[in-house]
C-alpha cells in the first residue's frame, strides 16, 4: 500500500524551529496535509519524539522517531529509528558527543520540550545547533546498531549537506538512500553528480514552520505504516524514486 510521508520535520525543540511547531500542531497539520507517516527529526535530539508519537496517534497518523544528526563535518544526516526506546538510547549516545555549549535562546531560539498536549515541560539547555564528534563515515553503521537507518539530508542544499561539505557522494560509505528537497531536480543533480546514479532518494519538507508543511506529494510503498517497515524498505533500497 502507498503511504504519503514526510520524514523530516522540525519541532520547537530545534532552536530554528518555530514555537508553533508543537507535537500536536505538527501531527494535525501533517494529517490535514494528507501525510500518513511522518517523522520529527530535531537537531541532535530525540527529546520530542515521544509526545509527537502520541499526538500523531491521536491525529490518526503514525510518527516514527527520528533525529537530524550534525556530524563533525557539519553534514546533516536524517536518522530514522525503530522505536522510542531506541530513540532514547540514540539520543543519549549523541548527547554525550555534543559539545557542552549552552544555548543562547536570544540568539538561536528556544529549544522547547513539550508533551503531547503542548504543555511545556522544560528547555534543552545544550545548544543543539552544534556539530557532534561523530564523523559522517561512522554514521551508517552507528544508526544501524540502534536498529535504524541513516540518510544524508537535503543533499541538494549548498550548506550542511554531504555534497556541499564533502564534495561528492561516496557510495561505499553505505548510506542506502539520500534525501533531496522539493526544489531539487534529481535529473539535474545526477548530471552534476554521476556517482548518484541508481541511488534511491526520498523527498521531505524539512519544515521548520507550519507554513513549510506542504500538501503530501511523496508516497512510499509499504506492507504497513510502521517504523520497522519504513526502515526495512529504505535499508533494502526498495524506494521507487532513484537518481538517473
Amino acid at each position: 500500500m502507498r503511504y504519503f510521508y514526510d520524514f523530516h520535520i522540525h519541532s520547537c525543540l530545534s532552536p530554528c524551529g518555530s514555537p508553533d511547531m508543537t507535537p500536536s500542531n505538527i501531527a494535525r497539520m501533517a494529517a490535514l496535509a494528507g501525510c500518513r507517516i511522518i517523522a520529527v527529526s530535531d537537531h541532535n535530539s530525540t527529546g520530542n519524539c515521544r509526545p509527537v508519537a502520541k499526538a500523531a496517534e491521536e491525529a490518526g497518523i503514525v510518527a516514527i522517531p527520528a533525529m537530524e544528526l550534525t556530524t563533525s563535518e557539519e553534514v546533516h544526516v536524517l536518522c530514522l529509528l525503530p522505536d522510542l526506546d531506541a530513540a532514547d538510547a540514540f539520543g543519549s549516545y549523541v548527547r554525550a558527543r555534543l559539545p557542552d555549549v549552552k544555548n543562547r535562546p536570544e540568539i538561536f531560539g528556544d529549544q522547547t520540550l513539550m508533551d503531547e498536549d503542548d504543555t511545556v515541560l522544560g528547555f534543552e539547555d545544550r545548544l543543539l545547533l552544534n556539530a557532534c564528534s561523530i564523523s559522517a563515515n561512522e554514521v551508517p553503521a552507528l544508526v544501524r546498531s540502534f536498529g535504524g537507518v541513516a540518510i544524508p539530508a537535503h543533499i541538494d542544499r549548498n550548506s550542511f549537506s554531504l555534497l556541499s561539505n564533502l564534495g561528492f557522494f561516496d557510495r561505499a560509505e553505505g548510506f542506502p538512500a539520500a534525501e533531496i528537497t522539493r526544489q531539487c531536480n534529481p535529473a539535474v543533480l545526477a548530471r552534476e553528480h554521476p556517482e548518484l546514479a541508481g541511488l534511491p532518494y526520498i523527498v521531505n519538507s524539512d519544515a521548520h514552520y507550519l507554513t513549510d508543511m506542504p500538501d503530501a506529494a511523496y508516497a512510499i510503498e509499504l506492507p504497513g505504516p510502521t517504523a520497522a517497515e519504513v526502515i526495512r524498505i529504505i535499508k533494502e533500497g526498495r524506494i521507487w524514486d532513484i537518481f538517473y
Binding site: I107, A131, S159
Partner: protein, 110 residues
Amino acid sequence: MKVSDLAEKLNLECLYRGNQDREVTGCYAGDLLSRVMSRAGAGHAWVTIMSNVNVAAVASLTDAACVILTEGVRPDKQLEDKLGELDASVFTTPLSTYEVAWRIHEAIGA
C-alpha cells in the same frame, strides 16, 4: 584598525553597515560554524564562504567586528533578512579566504 578603514583598505563591498567604528582586533578564517563558535574571538574579522542564515547567529554569538564573505559569495535570502539584527558589518569580496586573511594580517598585524 577600524572596520571602516579595513574595508576601504581591502576594497570590500559593503552588504550591511553595522558598527563601522569597531576596532578589528584579530581575524578568524573558517567555515565550520561549530568551530567558529568556539574559536573566533570578540572583535575579530570573521572570514568565510558560508552564506546561510546561521552566519548571523554565529556573528552575534562570537561578537565579531565584521563578517567578510569571500570568493564573491553573497548572503542567501534568509541571511539577508537577518542582517538588520547585526552589530557586525557584513562585506563581500571576490578574493579567496586565504587572500583576505593575509591582507588582514598585513593591515592589523594580528
